[in-house]
């Protein structure tokens, strides 16, 4: 799958591979030892956040799960 930043796709794939492995083998099993993906995530984010700004994608300041606040409980 491509990144919104054309030059970020390789970094994205590297991060995704690291995350998927950590998620299944550590996170879901309750293993709270360190996250091995912080470095790849940092590189990927540096690239993608730049692309988001360049494309004027209005993601800044959008509250986490914002619209969920005014909805009744599931």
């Amino acid at each position: 799958m491509n990144s919104v930043g054309e030059g970020c796709t390789d970094l994205k794939r590297e991060y995704d591979q690291c995350f998927n492995r950590w998620f299944a083998e550590k996170f879901l099993k309750g293993d709270r030892s360190g996250d091995p993906c912080t470095e790849t995530f940092r590189k990927y984010q540096h690239c993608v956040q730049k692309a988001i700004k360049e494309k004027d994608i209005p993601i800044d300041g959008v509250e986490f799960m914002g619209p969920n606040k005014d909805k009744p409980e599931s």
Binding site: M1, S3, V4, G5, F19, N20, L28, I57, K71
Partner: protein
């Protein structure tokens, strides 16, 4: 005026598999309308929940009659945010998805809760809800109807996409299990060399 939609379904996979597949469902044969996917925020909270935000861009396929509401200068892509919380203690994944742009034309918000099934083993319950609204003067009702119809059709694709990712994962796990069995047999027969003593 807002159109509300909800349904529930059972997915015949364990919650662990469903949640892992959730991250890996793009691309899939049913998601040609999804152009890009990016994780833009991620955090493990002190109580061990995983918060994530994904940014997706999708094509915005409209019927001809609706295209007139689209000034030619406007971007054709739709930007979508998907926020999610994975809670491995309560065995639930909650997602909230909504579009950032083209909101006057149509706003679609969707909430999904994937919950490990207490009743059926190796099964996950999915409850899906959506809120669809349009603010286009004089046309909000047909646009909302169109929006709801497209949403339902997209949910069928989304489920097929998730099932596709799940079957890929199962394939990987099965292959690994088979390989493990083969290696075990070889070790017992001494075919993989002497066992290290340290």
């Amino acid at each position: 005026m807002v159109k509300y939609f909800s349904n529930s379904t059972d997915i015949r996979s364990t919650w662990d598999h469903v949640v892992s597949a959730f991250w890996q469902r793009y691309p899939n044969p049913f998601s040609t309308h999804v152009l890009t996917e990016d994780v833009v925020y991620r955090e493990v909270t002190a109580d061990h929940r995983l918060l994530s935000r994904r940014l997706l861009t999708k094509t915005n396929r409209l019927p001809r009659w609706a295209e007139r509401f689209f000034p030619s200068g406007m971007s054709r892509s739709v930007y979508i945010i998907e926020d999610s919380i994975v809670d491995p203690v309560t065995r639930s994944l909650t997602t909230y998805t909504w579009n950032l742009n083209h909101t006057t034309l149509m706003s679609v918000e969707e909430r999904c809760v994937f919950q490990e099934s207490g009743e059926q083993p190796a099964s996950t319950q999915l409850k899906r809800e959506a809120w669809i609204s349009s603010s286009v003067y004089g046309f909000s009702r047909p646009i909302q109807e169109f929006g709801l119809a497209r949403f339902k059709s997209n949910q069928v694709k989304a489920m097929k996409g998730l099932e596709y990712a799940l079957s890929n994962l199962h394939g990987m796990y099965t292959a690994a299990a088979v390989k493990g069995e083969k290696c075990k047999g070889k070790v017992e027969k001494g075919l993989l060399g002497p066992r290290p003593t340290s």
